[in-house]
C-alpha cells in the first residue's frame, strides 16, 4: 500500500462499507491527512499581520523608511508567512484523522508534543463547518467538533475542501446518530434567505440606529451653526457608533439562510467567516417577534430566540445564537418559527388585554399589552413603537413570577413573568388586572407541569448525552 500520494482504495473503508471523506493523502491504515495546501493557507493568513505591522511601524517612524523600511517589508511579507507556512507544513505532516475500530473519531497531531484525541461519538454535541476569510479564497473550510463535558475544548481540523468538510461532517453526524452507512450531508431544504439589500436597509432603519443617526445629524447642524468644534467630535462618536454597529451586524449576518434538515433548523450566515449553526428543535426555549416602527412599511419583523446551553458550554452565551431571522416578512417569520414550534399558530391566539386603567400606568403601550395562551404556548404582547410578541411553550417554563410596583398597586394592576433561560427574550405580560394576573400565573404553573410530563421533544435524536444538564 502506498504510504502517501494517491488515495488508496483498500485502506479507505475500514471494511465497514463507507469512504472516509477527504482528498488528503492516505496511509496504509486508512488514516488521512488534511488538504496539502493547508500550509499555504496558513502562510497567506499571516500576511495581513505583516501589513498591520508595516502600517504601525510606518506611522511610528514617519519619513525614515529607506533601508529599515525595506527590511521590514521583507520581514512582513516574506519571512513571516514563510515561517508560518513552514511550521504549518510540519503540523500537516503529523496530523492524521480517521475512524478507529471502536467507531470513535480520532485525530493524531503534534510536531513536538504528540497529541491523540478521541471523540466519542455518543457524546457528540455539534459539528460545524466554517470558512475563515483567507481559507475561503482557497475554497477551503475548517471542521469544528464539540463534545459534551469537555468545557470549551473544541477539536479543529484545518483545512479540507468545502465538500470534503461537509461530507466528513455528515459522516460524523450519521455515525453519531447510529447509522453506519455511507451518507451524504443531511439534505437541506432551504426555507428562506435574506437578501443583502434587505439586511442593509433593515439595519439602518432600526430604531436605535435611526435615533443615533438623527441625533448626530442634529448635533452636527447645531455645531455648524454655532461654529463650535466640540459638537463635531460628539457627532462623530454618536454617528460612528451606529455605523459601526450596522457594519458589524451586516458582516455577521450577511446572506443569512435558513434551511430545514433532519438535525434541526440550519442557519448559515457571515461575510468574513461563514458560519453554520444547527438549531435542534428541542433546545429552543422562547422566541420573540420584534417589529420596529420604521420596518412597519415593509412588513418586516425580526425573530430573536433563547436557545438553551448544551451540555459543555458555559453560561456566558458566547456561542449561543440569539437570532432566528434578522429580518423577513411576517410570513417568512412564521414559516421559520413553525419549524421550531411546530404546533403553534401565533395568529390564532386569543388575546386577553390589559384593562383600560393600565393607560394611567403606561400610556404609550397600554393598548398593546395583552397575554394569550393555547394548549402549547403562552404569549405576551407589548410595545407600541417597537412591537413585541414573545412566545414560550409551556414545557419550557422555568419559574413564574408576579410583580407589583407601587404605581401598579394603586391601580390594582400586576405584571406576570414567565422565566426562561438566559437570552434576549423575556416573556412578560405587563400591567394586567391584579387578580387576573394572579390567576394566569397559577394556571401557567399547572399547564407547565402537564406539558413537562408529556414532553418528548428533547429526545429528538437517537442518542442523548448521559449528563443531560437541566
Amino acid at each position: 500500500m502506498p504510504a502517501s500520494g494517491s488515495p488508496s482504495s483498500i485502506g479507505d473503508d475500514f471494511g465497514l462499507g463507507f469512504q472516509l471523506p477527504g482528498t488528503g493523502t492516505v496511509d496504509e491504515q486508512g488514516r488521512r491527512r488534511v488538504h496539502p495546501i493547508t500550509p499555504l493557507v496558513h502562510g497567506a493568513s499571516a500576511m495581513p499581520i505583516g501589513i498591520f505591522i508595516v502600517i504601525v511601524m510606518g506611522i511610528g517612524s514617519g519619513a525614515a523608511f529607506g533601508l529599515a523600511g525595506a527590511a521590514l517589508f521583507v520581514v512582513a511579507f516574506v519571512v513571516l508567512p514563510v515561517v508560518v507556512a513552514g511550521w504549518s507544513y510540519l503540523v500537516w505532516r503529523n496530523l492524521w484523522y480517521w475512524f478507529d475500530a471502536d467507531g470513535d473519531f480520532r485525530v493524531d497531531s503534534g510536531v513536538v508534543t504528540k497529541q491523540e484525541r478521541r471523540v466519542q461519538l455518543s457524546r457528540l454535541q455539534s459539528v460545524d463547518v466554517a470558512q475563515p476569510l483567507i481559507a475561503r479564497l482557497f475554497s477551503m473550510a475548517e471542521l469544528t467538533v464539540e463534545v459534551a463535558g469537555a468545557e470549551g475544548s473544541k477539536l479543529k481540523l484545518q483545512f479540507l475542501t468545502l465538500e470534503d468538510a461537509r461530507a466528513l461532517r455528515a459522516t460524523i453526524l450519521a455515525r453519531a446518530a447510529g447509522l453506519r452507512h455511507d451518507t451524504t450531508e443531511a439534505p437541506e431544504a432551504a426555507i428562506t434567505a435574506v437578501a443583502p439589500r434587505d439586511l442593509a436597509v433593515s439595519l439602518l432603519l432600526r430604531s436605535s440606529t435611526a435615533f443615533l443617526l438623527l441625533l448626530s445629524i442634529a448635533i452636527l447642524t447645531v455645531s455648524f451653526l454655532t461654529g463650535g468644534i466640540g459638537g463635531l467630535l460628539v457627532a462623530l462618536v454618536t454617528g460612528g457608533i451606529p455605523i459601526l454597529m450596522v457594519v458589524s451586524e451586516f458582516i455577521k449576518y450577511f446572506n443569512f439562510t435558513v434551511s430545514e434538515s433532519p438535525d434541526g433548523l440550519r442557519l448559515r450566515f457571515g461575510l468574513a467567516k461563514t458560519e453554520a449553526r444547527t438549531v435542534p428543535p428541542g433546545r429552543v426555549q422562547a422566541i420573540e417577534y420584534v417589529e420596529p416602527l420604521l420596518w412597519r412599511r415593509q412588513g418586516w419583523v425580526r425573530v430573536r430566540v433563547n436557545i438553551a446551553g448544551m451540555g459543555g458550554q458555559d453560561r456566558q452565551g458566547n456561542k449561543e445564537e440569539t437570532l432566528l431571522l434578522p429580518v423577513g416578512t411576517m410570513d417568512v417569520a412564521h414559516a421559520v418559527v413553525a419549524r421550531v414550534f411546530p404546533d403553534v399558530d401565533v395568529e390564532a391566539l386569543e388575546w386577553r388585554p390589559a384593562p383600560r386603567r393600565s393607560r394611567r400606568r403606561s400610556f404609550i403601550q397600554w393598548s398593546r399589552l395583552a397575554v394569550a395562551w393555547d394548549d402549547t404556548v403562552l404569549a405576551a404582547r407589548s410595545g407600541r413603537v417597537t412591537r413585541r410578541v414573545s412566545v414560550i411553550p409551556h414545557a419550557r417554563t422555568q419559574s413564574v413570577r408576579l410583580t407589583q410596583g407601587p404605581w401598579e398597586r394603586s391601580l390594582q394592576l400586576a405584571s406576570m413573568h414567565v422565566d426562561t433561560t438566559p437570552g434576549p427574550v423575556k416573556v412578560s405580560a405587563l400591567h394586567l388586572d391584579a387578580s387576573f394576573a394572579d390567576q394566569v400565573a397559577h394556571e401557567q404553573v399547572t399547564r407547565a407541569l402537564h406539558a413537562r410530563a408529556a414532553d418528548r421533544s428533547t429526545r429528538w435524536a437517537a442518542d442523548e448525552p448521559p449528563d443531560d444538564q437541566a
Binding site: 438553551a308 422555568q398 413570577r401 410583580t403 413537562r452 443531560d468
Partner: protein, 166 residues
C-alpha cells in the same frame, strides 16, 4: 403557624413567615452602615470648609432617613413568606415592590444555604433557589439553620424526584 405574612398575592395554603431575628440583623447592618454616614458628617464639621448649615442639614436628613429605614425593615421582613405546595414552592416578598415567585420542584437545579457574618451572629440563614433561568428570584432570608437545612433537603429530594430535561 399564624398567618402573619403581609402579602398582596393569594395562596390557598398558609404562608410560613421568616424569623423575626432577621429584623434585628438587618437593623444592625443599617446601624453599621450609618457609622460611615456619621463619620462623613463629623469630617464635614471638623474640616470647616462648608458653612455650618450644611452638615446640620445632612445630619437631620440622615436621622430622618434612618428612622424611616428602621421602620421599613420591620415591615419588609414581615412581608417575607414561603409556602410549600404539592408541586412547587411559592416565595413572596416586598412592601413597595411586591413579588411572588412560583418555582416548580422539577425545575430546581440548585438549593443554596448561605449566611453572612451578621446573619451568623444572629443564627439565621438564607435559602436560595436556582433554576436554569437567571431571573428566578427565589431567596428566603431569615430562616433558622435547622429550618433551612430541612427545607433544603426537602426541596432537593423533591427536585430530584421530578427533575425534567431542559
Amino acid at each position: 403557624m399564624t398567618d402573619k405574612v403581609n402579602t398582596a398575592f393569594t395562596s390557598e395554603d398558609p404562608w410560613t413567615p421568616v424569623s423575626p431575628k432577621l429584623v434585628t440583623a438587618r437593623r444592625i447592618t443599617l446601624a453599621l452602615a450609618y457609622v460611615l454616614v456619621v463619620a462623613g458628617i463629623v469630617i464635614l464639621v471638623v474640616a470647616d470648609r462648608v458653612p455650618t448649615w450644611v452638615p446640620v442639614a445632612v445630619a437631620v436628613a440622615a436621622v430622618v432617613v434612618f428612622e424611616w429605614l428602621w421602620w421599613l425593615i420591620g415591615r419588609r421582613v414581615r412581608s417575607f413568606g414561603y409556602s410549600e405546595r404539592g408541586d412547587d414552592l411559592l416565595v413572596t416578598s416586598g412592601i413597595m415592590f411586591r413579588r411572588l415567585v412560583i418555582v416548580p420542584y422539577g425545575r430546581m437545579q440548585l438549593v443554596d444555604v448561605k449566611a453572612g457574618p451578621i446573619d451568623r451572629w444572629f443564627g439565621i440563614t438564607t435559602v436560595q433557589l436556582h433554576t436554569a433561568a437567571a431571573t428566578t428570584d427565589a431567596s428566603i432570608p431569615g430562616l433558622l439553620p435547622d429550618v433551612a437545612a430541612d427545607l433544603r433537603d426537602r426541596l432537593a429530594r423533591r427536585g430530584e424526584q421530578r427533575s425534567a430535561g431542559l
